[in-house]
């Protein structure tokens, strides 16, 4: 068991003929992900080939997502389309009925994401992860995204994070201690995006195979505070957290479009306070994310 993706997930790659799309499509295939289709407008009819260790894998390329879904039964899409066309690519996947859309692209204008969110609100079954995220992985079963697969290990800890490399850091710490992960979800660093902490925590709480959660937030916005409220009232499983940006100056965008303290709101201190009040344990340093969670699970 896991959340959102597993062995039976059939993945289509939007932007499969581009540099990032083709590189990561191969990496996903190597990991064992079932990549069933690619989409690049005007390149329909071509075949994407990868000489994988298990033999050559051939993936048909289509002009539209609708065609790809109809022909292959793809039920998840991962988007590597550059920023000018990325929001359009997300909307195309929504319209074709793909129920899990993962957008890796960094740099989508926020005006475009406001429209995407508006459409998403009308689609109760559709889930969007990202944009500006590493993707999602259920170790040993399915990887949809750009994370290094080899650091993961199947197990029972859920990880949800706004930061890519900090997710790797947490996973690396867990695996080094011999502790595996159920599913790791990178929700991305943009101010307006798809699934947020509460959406993912809801799934982890309901998943019998997830026994504890590491949640990694950062400065900016109020998603961590909403998560704290959820943890306090709805969660029984232990949650360890880390919030990046204690030392970040206000008014400065710290790499991620969404990582900015504006008008005194979105500070690390406020988030750490809310999470601690809610019963989550906040790791004092980023080196102690795994040990903090394990200290809560000992009994």
């Amino acid at each position: 068991m896991s959340v959102l993706i597993g062995k039976d997930t059939r993945v289509l790659v939007q932007g499969i003929t581009g540099g990032a799309g083709s590189f990561h499509a191969k990496q996903m295939i190597e990991y064992g992900t079932s990549v069933v289709a690619g989409v690049t407008p005007t390149r329909g009819g071509e075949t994407f080939e990868h000489a994988a260790s298990v033999g050559t894998i051939k993936v048909p390329v289509f002009d539209t997502v609708a065609q790809a879904v109809k022909k292959t039964g793809a039920n998840a899409s991962v988007i590597f389309v550059p920023p000018p066309g990325a929001a359009d690519a997300i909307l195309e996947a929504f319209d074709a009925g793909v129920e899990l859309v993962v957008c890796i692209t960094e740099g989508i204008p926020v005006m475009d994401m406001l429209k995407v969110r508006r459409v998403l609100e009308t689609l109760p079954k559709t889930r969007l992860i990202g944009p500006n995220c590493p993707g999602i992985i259920t170790p040993g079963a399915c990887k949809i995204g750009i994370m290094p697969g080899h650091i993961h290990k199947p197990g029972h800890i859920g990880v949800v994070s706004r930061s890519g490399t900090l997710t790797y850091e947490a996973v690396g710490q867990l695996t080094a201690l011999g502790v595996g992960q159920s599913t790791c979800v990178g929700i991305g660093g943009d101010p307006v995006a798809g699934m947020d902490f509460v959406d993912v925590l809801t799934l982890f709480e309901a998943d019998p195979d997830t026994h504890g959660v590491i949640m990694i937030g950062e400065i900016g916005g109020g998603a961590e505070e909403r998560a704290a409220d959820f943890i306090k009232h709805k969660m029984k499983k232990p949650v360890a957290a880390f919030i990046a940006g204690t030392t970040a100056p206000p008014g400065k965008r710290m790499g991620h479009a969404g990582a900015i303290i504006s008008g005194g709101k979105g500070t690390a201190a406020a988030k750490i306070h809310a999470l601690t009040e809610a019963g989550a344990r906040v790791a004092p340093t980023p080196s102690e994310m795994a040990t903090t969670l394990l200290s809560m699970m000992k009994k």
Partner: protein, 402 residues
């Protein structure tokens, strides 16, 4: 990206948001000529000379002055303001040098209001906020008297509706100035919404928005921030950028495709990924605070950086005089450790490594990266974890002093 008030007003004018007549001036002579032109055009001797810097609170800091005596007085004021070090609550104590002025017609005002628009990230909507408390810091109003801020959220599928603008207009009591004023406000709102959506603004603020004695509604100020992500569809933004208003090192980093923010500390950081870069700063402060050790910068080289970009990034850190030690913290995903190692070695060989260097490498191609570093002959302290690295770099700066 931020722009100046006069640039914001030029954009407003293009979309039909009413603004006073005015001309930018880069010299005292230009300021006097602008005042002369305004007096001739308006038949009014009163002009306003406004310092143009990328920070709010200019009036309070002495950067905005009214000249009632025509062009000669405008010239005297321009002489004082141009070149001054303007200190406001947003500039920090060192202030910002005034290099540009805006000379504007004086208007007979009746009331000052506040009007602003932001992206409300939690509601995923554009939010318009209006308040009767114009001309003062809106953060203070929001804190002290939040009930005085009226808000409407715009459905992106529908756009701004006239009834929402009327809601704000009646909330501000604009009907007292005549029903034409309500209509003028609604029209201004529609134009402003156009500006925000079409120009990809992440923030748009008019403080104050003024009601004139004749009932007209005019934007007396214009603060616009653009969403940097949208620069691919706005070729004109490059011309609006004022390099003098930005940190030179941050600008240099931006040109090299790096995310860099200058800080006050003494440990240079080179990290991949924004979250890890922030966390690296945090952990240096955690171990270093009581020894006076703190991060000197935020630097995210990103996931797809080339060796040249890494070399550039490391050079920027090496050149900074405040840096007493360097911490390279990499968890390679897409980023390969050998690319980082080659970049670091290239920069260190070119510029010389005069401060202690602590490196923690993990992830893709880690063995190759470590090999490149150890064969480089550079004095590098290898760290096994982030905490180990942070402790080592703190010790390197403080010399173990308690």
């Amino acid at each position: 990206m931020k722009i100046h008030e006069y640039q914001g007003k030029q954009i407003f004018a293009k979309y039909g948001v009413p603004v006073p007549k005015g001309y930018p001036a880069f010299t005292v002579d230009e300021a006097e000529a602008a005042a002369k032109k305004l007096v001739a055009e308006t038949g009014n001797d009163v002009v306003v000379v406004k310092a143009q810097i990328h920070a709010g609170g200019r009036g309070k800091g002495g950067g905005v002055k009214v000249a009632k005596g025509g062009p000669a007085e405008a010239r005297q004021i321009a002489e004082k303001i141009l070149g001054m070090q303007l200190v406001t609550h947003q500039t920090g104590p060192e202030g910002q040098k005034v290099r540009r002025l805006y000379v504007e017609q004086g208007l007979a005002m009746d009331r000052e209001l506040y009007l602003g628009a932001v992206i409300d990230r939690d509601r995923r909507r554009i939010a318009f906020m209006a308040s009767t408390e114009g001309g003062v810091e809106i953060e203070k109003v929001a804190h002290d008297t939040p009930e005085k801020i009226l808000t409407v959220h715009v459905d992106p599928a529908v756009g701004l509706s006239a009834y929402q603008s009327r809601e704000l207009a009646f909330g501000l009591g604009l009907e007292k100035h005549g029903k034409e004023t309500v209509g003028k406000f609604v029209k201004l709102m529609a134009s402003l919404y156009d500006v925000i959506v079409k120009e990809d603004c992440s923030l748009c603020e008019i403080n104050p928005l003024v009601i004139l004695k004749n009932g007209d509604v005019v934007a007396l100020d214009a603060k616009i921030n653009f969403d940097d992500n949208a620069d691919f569809r706005h070729k004109g933004w490059a011309e609006l950028r004022d390099a003098d208003e930005e940190d030179p090192v941050e600008l240099q980093a931006k040109e090299a495709g790096l995310n860099y923010v200058s800080l006050d500390g003494n440990v240079g950081c080179l990290v991949n990924g924004a979250g890890l870069a922030m966390a690296t700063m945090d952990i240096i402060k955690h171990y270093g605070e009581k020894h006076g050790v703190a991060p000197a910068n935020f630097l995210d080289v990103g996931g797809g950086a080339t060796q040249e970009q890494v070399t550039k990034a490391f050079s920027m850190i090496l050149k900074s005089p405040k840096v007493k030690a360097i911490f390279v913290n990499i968890f390679g995903g897409i980023m390969k450790c050998d690319v980082i190692a080659n970049g670091v070695v290239a920069a260190a060989k070119e510029l010389g490594l005069k401060v202690p260097l602590v490196v923690r490498l993990e992830g893709t191609n880690v063995e190759l990266g470590r090999k490149i570093l150890s064969e480089s002959g550079l004095a590098i302290q290898a760290a096994t974890t982030m905490a180990d690295g942070a402790e080592k770099v703190v010790l390197a700066v403080s010399g173990g002093a308690k």
